[in-house]
């Protein structure tokens, strides 16, 4: 018994230096929120990896004075609003100074309300729904584009480039996908495209044969898929091809993920989608590519946006010389630098502008195909 007590005491004493060490080394805590499990895990993991890369690069370039370490606390939202709020609360308890995330608009909106109460800055790399920044939260920022820019761009593309006269729209009823589908429907009507039907499927469905049979019978020029993530989109594309549907498939930014072509294979060829334009020839992009690809593989979807979101947060904290949210926000608004995905400059409402263009699937690549201003890209 006595021996045991001694051992415990000795072990306790051995812990002391570690505890002291933990107190003296100052760590800057950054949170990230994205779906790390469930159907959108691949996109969520890209966001986490993008943010981590930003921290690694920032530390190499000198870090932030007064901090030995910047640590990323990656939380899983599973694209579930309840879990997203729980993740936000966990990050509040961890006392993070800023959050990169979330992925699904339906996660970002409720969790940002929780973070806002604590004056924690949130920069979403991927949530495109208008409501994200339209609610007037002071600490909500967005690195990607907005759906009310994406929808008109998509409609314009279908009208001008594809010469569409009729469109069949299907969405899976999330805040993001349904909001975008409604926007496309409105924009298409405004351009004189006939919306023959607007159908809904459920999140998590695998069998789309019923709705596809309907679409095949309606013979619309365009079959517009607004789905949350590449996985259901790939399944729908595959089944559409098998059913012999002849409408041209057009889809949106959530499908911008190389896994789409891996699952849908031949069926994916020639599919168009809208996504924010990124100039992959800039030195910033090249540097990111060299950094990211060896460690995490192909650059997909929102890794670049997460990198820019995290970098701008760190830059602002460094410039502010403090983690006071008011000062950091003031510095964020001053930022004006070329990022990896786009040129970073925030507007008063927290948006950073949209640059939607149409991409075409060719082989295993998304190739820039059309832009709203000048039409076809050579």
């Amino acid at each position: 018994m006595r021996k045991k007590a001694l051992t415990i005491l000795a072990m306790g004493l051995m812990m002391v230096p570690f505890l002291l060490g933990a107190v003296s080394a100052k760590t800057l805590k950054i949170g990230s929120m994205s779906p790390l499990t469930g159907p959108y895990a691949s996109d969520g993991t890209d966001i986490k990896n993008g943010a981590q890369t930003a921290i690694d690069v920032f530390m190499e370039q000198g870090g932030i004075p007064g901090y030995d370490k910047i640590e990323l606390f990656a939380q899983d939202t599973a694209c579930d609003p309840r879990q997203a709020v729980a993740a936000a609360n966990k990050l509040i308890n961890l006392e993070v100074v800023g959050v990169v995330g979330a992925y699904c608009s339906s996660s970002t909106i409720p969790s940002s309300e929780v973070l806002d109460e604590e004056d924690i800055i949130m920069i979403t790399p991927a949530s495109t729904n208008e409501k994200v920044t339209d609610r007037g939260l002071p600490y909500m920022f967005r690195m990607c584009g907005r759906d009310d820019d994406q929808a008109p761009a998509a409609a314009k593309f279908m009208k001008e480039s594809l010469g569409a006269k009729s469109i069949f729209i299907v969405d899976d009823k999330t805040t993001y996908s349904q909001g975008l589908a409604d926007g496309v429907s409105k924009a298409a009507k405004a351009l004189g495209i006939d919306v023959v039907a607007h159908e809904h499927v459920n999140q998590g469905d695998k069998d789309f044969s019923a709705v596809l049979t309907m679409a095949k019978q309606k013979k619309a020029d365009i079959f517009y898929m607004s789905l949350q993530g590449y996985s259901p989109a790939a399944m729908m594309t595959l089944q559409a091809k098998r059913l012999g549907m002849n409408s041209q498939i057009v889809t949106q930014d959530a499908v911008f993920q190389p896994k789409y072509m891996e699952v849908a294979k031949d069926a994916a060829q020639g599919v168009y989608l809208t996504y924010g334009y990124t100039d992959s020839s800039t030195p910033e992009y090249k540097a990111f590519e060299e950094r990211y690809v060896p460690k995490y593989g192909k650059i997909a979807a929102y890794a670049t946006y997460a990198y820019d979101a995290c970098t701008s947060l760190l830059k602002a904290i460094k410039a502010a010389g403090s983690t006071d949210p008011k000062k950091v926000k003031a510095e964020l608004m001053k930022l004006d630098y070329p990022g990896v995905a786009k040129h970073v400059k925030f507007k008063a409402n927290g948006d950073s502008g949209s640059s939607y263009i149409a991409f075409k699937v060719v082989g295993d690549q998304f190739v820039p195909y059309w832009e709203p201003k000048n039409g076809l890209i050579k």
Binding site: L36, T37, G204, Q217, M235, L238, V263, K265
Partner: protein
Amino acid sequence: MEYFIQQLINGLTLGGMYALIALGYTMVYGVIQLINFAHGEFFAAGGYIGAIVLAYFAGVGYMESHPIICLTASFMIAMAYCAYLAIGVEKIAYKPLRKQSRLSALLSALGMSIFLSNGMMLTQGVYDAIYPSELFQGRFDFGMISVSYLQVTIVTLTAALLVGLNILVFKTKIGMAMRATAQDKTMSALVAISSNRIISLTFAIGAGLAASAGIMYGLYYGSVKYDMGFVPGIKAFAAAVLGGIGNITGAMLGGLIIGMVEIFGAGYISGEYKDVFAFIILIAVLYFKPTGIMGENIDDTRV
């Protein structure tokens, strides 16, 4: 009319898959009165084994030269694996509880389901496992109606498995032993039928059928995923209850009805409520016939 026929074919394919899974629920219930909630996981495991085997064959180049052999082999391996998995699950999670109340075994089943699904997530990852979709790429076109080779294959295979199962249960000695055990374990033991062996066999057959449904699912939808067993599992369970749980013919019928209702509900009324229609039919049938379509399972058709 063409639209109707096309949806009918879609419903037949989906319903056939549900029927194959539903059989496992109903057979196990017939023999030991247990709802095996881990059954959906056998379906997912079968899908994964199929993906692994086919990926291996594609890797060594057999896939292009002998697609039929590769496919047959993947079915054999997945069915055998899942059969043994089910026997193992039964020995570990249900057999020790056989003398306890039925509720303990039910909870054990739920636990096993979560364990297996998370096990698949940890070993296989959270990403979709991809099936080679080059197989059966073509389709028959009759005017507006198109039937893919894959649909033909799935429906034929499902029908063959269902007929095979019926012959096994109703025409062979083993089937007779199964039916005897289902009716009365003590009496059948007195005529030298080992109930433990029959129970293992029932689990194995049910899981084998689920595994074959898993591969068909992978071929049809292009990929499989660790959590894919849950929703079809619930639907197939509903199908088994709809047909009258414990009754083999009922489970086949129930599976087809649930599949059809889902497709027609989505095709004619609204895609967003297709799951609701399936369960409305379930509730409506149970309201008027609480034992399901094929009625009480006291005659010798139960397994």
